[in-house]
């Protein structure tokens, strides 16, 4: 065995990006609470907008990365792309869950109900189920390579729901408000705050993806080493 193979692969020390994530998130929330102007119709509850929209954007971005990673994996067969797709799917599901929850809170405050079977809400929930299915397939207990291929197919076909979610407010009559950003419905200050929030959430997504990816590399290193060393006592190793 070469000494190089025994060392863990170069991965970022996770505690540093984790701390950066917590600082960014806390600063972002304080920024939204303190600096955002109060909207006339909805009042203070409108500030959820600066969190809800970037969360949805990050979920879409994550699922785009899953789509690209899945195609690349099926074309090249390189596990690097599969790891990217898997990591992004988990992160995307987290952001999608938070989008649904913040949306429900906003709906309760403004519409008086937590949930309605509105096209935008329903297609978003379908999106959540698609990527929950993607993760379930990964952990289904079947052979790893087969699971990766099945998941890649879900990652590609499931992405078809993303444009449906995005265009649902145009395609159907919906209770969900239209995209104010493109309609010029935001004041310059509101737009600036939204851009800041979008940037910070995208940065948080990138950090979470990098951290999850480095864990995949560590898992691969462990698997390689186990094969080389011929370790049998797996249960004792984690202690």
């Amino acid at each position: 065995l070469k000494r190089d193979t025994l060392k863990p692969r170069p991965f970022i020390k996770l505690i540093i990006p984790a701390t950066v994530c917590v600082i960014l998130l806390t600063a972002l929330q304080a920024f939204v609470l303190v600096y955002s102007p109060e909207e006339q119709t909805m009042g203070i509850i409108q500030r959820i907008f600066y969190l809800h929209v970037p969360l949805a954007w990050c979920a879409f971005l994550a699922f785009l990365v899953v789509f690209i990673g899945s195609i690349s994996y099926l074309v090249n067969g390189n596990t690097f792309w599969d790891n990217i797709a898997h990591s992004s799917a988990v992160t995307g599901l987290l952001f999608n869950s938070l989008t649904l929850i913040t949306g429900a809170i906003w709906a309760k405050a403004v519409w008086g109900i937590w949930w309605t079977w509105d096209p935008r809400l329903t297609t978003s929930l379908v999106l959540w189920f698609i990527y929950a299915g993607y993760i379930l397939v990964r952990n289904f207990g079947i052979e790893q390579e087969r699971a990766a291929r099945f998941a890649a197919v879900i990652g590609i076909s499931g992405f078809a729901d993303v444009p449906v979610v995005a265009l649902s407010i145009v395609l159907w009559r919906t209770q969900h408000p239209p995209a104010l950003i493109f309609a010029g419905g935001l004041t310059p200050t509101m737009l600036l705050i939204l851009v800041v929030c979008l940037t910070i959430f995208t940065l948080i997504y990138a950090l979470l993806l990098a951290m999850s990816l480095s864990l995949h590399w560590m898992e691969n290193s462990v698997a390689e080493l186990k094969m080389m060393v011929g370790s049998e006592d797996e249960a004792g190793e984690s202690k």
């Binding site: 060392k7 979470l208 060393v229």
Partner: protein, 53 residues
Amino acid sequence: MKGLDYLLAANIIIWTGICGYLVYLLCRYRELRNRLRVLVKKDISEKAESKNV
């Protein structure tokens, strides 16, 4: 509930969700790092044994 309560609830849920995922990643990192250490130690002792033989 007032608007501020809803806003704070949303903030707390986002913070809990993202920080919870970070904690999960850190725990997994610790577990994998320990596994790697054990495997490296095992390999070194095996090498030493084979040299002695």
